[in-house]
């Protein structure tokens, strides 16, 4: 063994490679069908696409207002991601301090996490209606503007930052909001990445809430568009699979963009005792 280089065991890869294939094959199949239009029951099945083309993607573009759906989903996700980073970081920062009733606040947060969204959907709808946000982008983003699990992610990231840093900044006369945005947030990139990935994913995949509050075709998001597409063009597997690929590609891009920080956040969370 060469100096400074660890010999890695090979045997885990014997399990990991087949496992990876099992995970990738369905996704590959969707991608392949989006290029060939072969139905699922084509016999004999082939792994290699025959006569691949981009026509099904073009069909998607012409058949439905795809760019409108994409814009709606991206805009709503952007609102959700930005508001989550701002609100959750402030909430996580405040939980670093000791204040009367802190334990109660944490208990309320934790208990709220146990309530599924489906049970609060009617009050959420009524509140959104009171604000006049039905059928708007902000209405779509409303229930996801802050998420409790991400507050705890920020809290645990901030807890790992030495108190001496904030004390030094305070002695220098820095206000609290500057301590948060200038010192704590730049030191918590893994927590920010986790926030971005999770909230983007939740917002992007959200189906029930848009279904409840959206009334016009122009405000529909990608998952609603997919459901509509499915009801219109059920027999045509090619365009449907092409649309599915277009729905999942942004999520994959966001994940790959934040992958390193996300994994480091997961690992640091796992190692904390």
């Amino acid at each position: 063994m060469s100096r400074g280089r660890l010999k890695r065991p090979v045997w885990p890869h014997l399990f990991l490679i087949p496992l990876t294939l099992v995970m990738i094959v369905p996704l590959y199949w969707v991608f392949k069908t989006s290029l060939t239009g072969e139905i699922l029951y084509t016999y004999p099945p082939s792994l290699i696409p025959k006569n691949p083309n981009l026509f099904y993607y073009i069909d998607v573009y012409y058949w439905i207002p795809f760019l409108r759906y994409l814009w709606n989903s991206l805009f709503v996700s952007a609102i959700v991601v930005v508001s989550n980073i701002v609100i959750n970081s402030m909430a996580g920062f405040s939980l670093r301090y000791s204040f009367p009733g802190k334990k109660m606040v944490i208990l309320i947060f934790l208990s709220c996490m146990l309530i599924p969204f489906q049970t609060t959907i009617i009050p959420a709808f009524l509140i959104t209606k009171q604000f006049g946000l039905i059928d708007t982008h902000f209405g779509l983003a409303f229930p996801l503007l802050t998420t409790i699990i991400n507050i705890f992610i920020f809290k645990s990231a901030f807890d790992a930052i030495p108190k001496s840093l904030s004390d030094a900044a305070r002695i220098d006369g820095m206000p609290e909001w500057k301590i948060l945005f200038r010192i704590f947030l730049p030191l918590s990139k893994p927590a920010i990445a986790t926030n971005i990935i999770l909230t983007f994913l939740w917002s992007w995949n959200n189906f029930i809430w848009p279904l409840v509050i959206i009334r016009t075709k122009e405000m529909q998001t990608m998952p609603l568009g997919l459901a509509r597409f499915l009801s219109y063009f059920e027999p045509s597997s090619g365009p449907l699979y092409a649309f599915t690929i277009l729905v999942i590609v942004p999520v994959i891009i966001v994940f790959l963009w934040n992958q390193k920080s996300f994994i480091s956040s997961m690992i640091s969370g796992a190692l904390k005792g």
């Binding site: 981009l54 026509f55 012409y62």
Partner: protein, 135 residues
């Protein structure tokens, strides 16, 4: 720190994202130029017999193809060399076929797909008509 060095620093730190979005932007730009240059809605081709000779005055039928319905065909006539052309046709997927008295159409109507609604399109294969042999 000057503005130039700050920008350079941002570019260095986000090299991957900049390359990714540049490639996407460039692709969209090239595609837009291509679309602008090829959006007259022309569909053209040849009608030939089994010997490869153009069939004059053949009737060419062009129909929009949907998943469930076929619209009324647009009809044109091939010239003396068997050449035909449609202009300003806005359809993505279509079926096309030719007919003429005294000829049979062995392939029936052939389906084609264009990349955008008014994509200029030349049939990759001529439409084939075979002369009927008198009994």
């Amino acid at each position: 720190m000057s503005l130039g060095s700050t920008l350079l620093d941002i570019v260095k730190r986000n090299k991957g994202a900049i390359i990714f979005f540049s490639v996407i932007g460039l692709s969209i730009g090239i595609w837009s130029i291509y679309v602008r240059a090829n959006d007259d809605g022309i569909i053209e081709g040849l009608v030939v017999d089994q010997h490869g000779r153009g069939v004059a005055n053949a009737i060419v039928l062009l129909q929009k193809k949907g998943y469930d319905i076929l619209d009324e065909p647009i009809v044109t006539t091939a010239d003396e060399y068997g050449y035909f052309i449609y202009e300003d046709v806005a359809m993505l997927e279509f079926v096309i076929g030719a007919e003429r008295e005294g000829y049979i159409t062995p392939e029936g109507r052939i389906s084609y797909h264009r990349y955008f609604l008014k994509h200029n399109f030349e049939l990759p294969e001529p439409l084939l008509l075979i002369k009927e042999v008198a009994q």
